[in-house]
């Protein structure tokens, strides 16, 4: 018999004994009719029972977080010991049996204790149907764009780990996989592994938390598109004391230096770095302002001598009336991003529009998006986005676009979205496209940071 089972049996016996004593006392004190004292005793007894039940739940929860070699053995001793308790407290009987199955965990781990140490597992499917013509950035009619498997758990008293493995149309990719040290001294939070860099807002978003089907043009052109700055390295975050009601938080990150078309590491020393300062303030209980400045630097695909610098400013305004928080909300968001990069001067002049005064291979590209999303009913959201961005490798080429989006949530775990997108590419090509996206979640996907 395991210690937890023994303790459980002991507690049940104790409860029964106390209850038996109680019933034995009834006739004796009953004649004295000290009803309130009796009521008090019954109440105390009930409290003890509820407390014991709570302890049993806690024990079970603890058991699930401790490896045990005999978890598969049938728990007969404790279940037989439960029976007397059910007899003495009939109104609790249903609960006692019910609680026997309460190590069922969100995520469908079932009651089997053998699975108890499994992390929270989730899968988010992202299916996209596309219509329209876009010669520069074609999308298929139907695609199972991504199946994101999330595996999340607490590692030990000092850390937790999160893995997001993305099964795309072309292959499998560890989108993120990192450990977070949560118990460092002086309020530091450190991460190590592969992660989306803290550059601005959109770069940190997983596909399923974005308010659009696609990513803004500025992300596509300047910050590595869907993959973004996403690399192996480490991150340190700390809240900075700030005046008034401001929340200030600084994140510093160092990566290997390989991220999409943004950074390429030609040798071990070609690291890339990201710094992000976030300022946040509650304007009222219902609204808040979230500001950020970001900087990133690394070596680009032309070799170790060629540097790319990225600067970003982001601003988010959120409104959500707390009393009606599940029905109405509004989010306005914008990011401005500048990308400066050194590149061989030849490349600058290869394209159609050759700069009048080519700056010796130095490109200075700028882009932004501005978006608004309004929730007008419990399940309905409408939004729009304006896009504009230079191209990173030839900043004289400039793409523009805009989108309107309508989203419907059948439940918290599924989402249907329609998006119409217009893009005017620098090559004087106009693209009109429509997308329908279906996203659906299984299991317990941990909440994302705000």
């Amino acid at each position: 018999m395991r210690p937890s089972q023994m303790l459980f049996a002991f507690m049940v016996v104790l409860t029964c004994a106390a209850a038996a004593q109680q019933t034995a006392n009834v006739p004796a004190t009953g004649s004295n009719t000290d009803v309130s004292a009796l009521e008090q005793k019954i109440r105390d007894l009930e409290d003890r029972l509820v407390m014991l039940e709570g302890q049993v739940r806690q024990l079970k929860a603890q058991k699930t977080s401790m490896p045990s070699e005999d978890t598969a053995s049938p728990p007969t001793p404790s279940s037989t010991a439960v029976t007397p308790a059910q007899v003495t407290m009939p109104q609790e009987a249903g609960r006692s049996t019910a609680s026997a199955g309460d190590n069922v965990r969100l995520g469908g781990a079932g009651g089997a204790a053998a699975k108890a140490l499994n992390p929270d597992i989730s899968v988010i499917g992202d299916f996209i149907a596309g219509a329209g013509h876009n010669p520069l950035n074609p999308t298929p009619a139907f695609q199972m764009h991504e199946s994101e498997v999330g595996l999340q758990a607490i590692v030990d008293p000092y850390a937790r780990a999160d893995f997001f493995i993305s099964f795309g149309e072309t292959g499998v990719n560890v989108e993120e996989g990192f450990i977070t040290f949560t118990a460092l001294p002086s309020g530091f939070v450190a991460k190590a592994g592969k992660m989306r860099a803290a550059f601005g807002k959109v770069n940190t978003f997983h596909n399923h938390v974005m308010p659009w089907v696609d990513r803004p043009l500025v992300s596509q052109n300047l910050v590595g598109g869907e993959d973004g700055i996403n690399d192996a390295g480490f991150s340190v975050e700390h809240i900075i004391p700030a005046p008034g009601k401001w929340f200030l938080d600084f994140t510093g990150q160092a990566f290997r230096g390989d991220s999409a078309d943004v950074y390429t590491s030609s040798n071990k020393n070609d690291l890339s770095v990201v710094g992000h300062l976030r300022g946040y303030r509650d304007l009222t209980d219902d609204s808040n302002l979230d500001l950020g400045v970001s900087y990133s630097r690394g070596h680009n695909l032309f070799g170790g001598d060629f540097i790319t610098n990225l600067y970003g400013v982001d601003a988010t305004y959120r409104w959500k009336p707390l009393r009606r928080s599940i029905y109405k909300s509004f989010v306005a968001r914008s990011e401005f991003i500048w990308r400066q990069q050194n590149q061989p001067s030849l490349l600058t002049c290869q394209s159609i529009t050759c700069p009048v005064d080519p700056a010796a291979g130095f490109q200075r590209a700028f882009g932004f998006y501005a978006s608004g999303d309004f929730q007008f009913a419990r399940r309905w959201f409408v939004g729009g986005r304006v896009d504009r961005s230079d191209r990173a490798f030839n900043s004289h080429l400039n793409d523009k676009g805009g989108s309107v989006v309508l989203t419907y949530w059948p439940s918290e775990f599924a989402q249907i979205r329609g998006q119409y997108r217009f893009t005017r590419y620098a090559d004087r090509i106009n693209a009109h496209e429509a997308f329908i996206q279906l996203q659906f979640a299984l299991g317990a996907h941990g909440a994302h940071p705000f």
């Binding site: 709570g54 309460d102 969100l106 309020g187 938080d249 946040y280 009606r324 928080s325 439940s411 909440a447």
Partner: protein, 312 residues
């Protein structure tokens, strides 16, 4: 920018120095307690008195399932000695990232400064067997709205008092004394509430969400249906018609809803059944005048008994 980072560096350095230099206080101290909901804050205040500095994250009129994990909450959490949560996955959508980001080792799950209050309370509606989301946003560990039962309040207060005493042994007697005093006042108040509710024991009601099982059990009400077809799923026309028929059949007039739900469907049900929508406050702070746990029940029982009288 450079200036800002410089001054913040100094601030950081000062902060570190303070942390390192400050002597550990062995004597009585003020514990900084953060609770997820206002009800837990109210109970903590009852037993902690002025030895405890307590604040809740969510507002009393807010849906506790859907709270934004705002960074401003991190400012509260990062210096907390103790975090008290409702548990049973009520806060799963917003509390875990806050705890992770807080940079506060004291309040991480399973450390000394993390208290799940559900362990002290009687939990109802624990699902049996396999749980699937075909049942909606079901809580696999049982119904988390357990604080709406004065018996549970007593048990939680006792649990909190024990925890506070463990963290601040010098004030153990103070916490125990306050807890006993609270228990006494609660017993008296409960007698009054029970007397007010006595004429309506056994009455059938419907509720919007499954938020009131503990309340209904304590006061002997019979919840026969829900306006939501499944937990977390908004009302549908077909379910609403079924519910109206059920309410007519069972002669049920009262619909309990929380302030954060849209009253449109409940109102139309009321007009079809000749019933009444009662907006009950699920938490302390739901209205400005509801400043503690006693006033919460005073308020709820007052409007509920009025509604019962009107729909006789």
């Amino acid at each position: 920018m450079i200036l800002a980072s410089k001054s913040s560096f100094f601030a950081l350095a000062t902060c570190l120095c303070v942390v390192l230099v400050a002597p550990p206080s062995a004597t009585a101290k003020t514990l900084r307690v953060i609770t997820t909901l206002t009800d837990l804050a109210a109970l903590t205040h009852e037993v902690g008195g002025d030895k405890v500095d307590v604040e809740a994250l969510a507002k009393g009129y807010q849906d506790p399932h859907f709270v934004d994990p705002k960074p401003s909450f991190l400012l509260k959490l990062r210096h907390a000695d103790l975090l008290i949560s409702v548990g049973l996955d009520l806060e799963i959508g917003w509390l875990p990232p806050l705890i992770t980001q807080s940079g506060n080792g004291n309040i991480q799950p399973a450390s000394q400064g993390f208290l799940d209050a559900s362990q002290f309370a009687e939990i109802l509606e624990i699902p049996q067997g396999a749980v699937t989301r075909a049942e909606g946003d079901v809580h696999p560990l049982g119904n988390p709205h357990y604080w709406l039962d004065p018996d549970n309040a007593r048990r939680i207060a006792k649990g909190i008092a024990t925890k506070l005493a463990d963290m601040d042994p010098a004030d153990r007697a103070y916490f125990q004394q306050r807890e006993q005093d609270f228990e006494k006042r609660l017993a008296e108040a409960d007698k009054k509430w029970q007397a007010q509710m006595a004429p309506y024991r056994g009455r059938k009601i419907v509720t919007y969400h499954r938020s009131w099982p503990n309340f209904a059990k304590h006061f002997g009400l019979d919840v026969i249906g829900y306006i939501e077809p499944r937990p977390g799923i908004p009302p549908t026309p077909s379910h609403t018609i079924e519910l109206v028929n059920l309410m007519k059949r069972e002669n049920t007039k009262i619909e309990l809803i929380e302030p954060y739900f849209d009253a449109k469907t409940p109102e139309s049900i009321a007009s079809m059944t000749g019933g009444k929508v009662v907006v009950m406050m699920p938490s302390v702070g739901g209205k400005p005048e509801i400043t503690d746990y006693f006033k919460l029940f005073d308020y709820d029982i007052e409007i509920l008994t009025q509604a019962f009288q009107q729909t006789r």
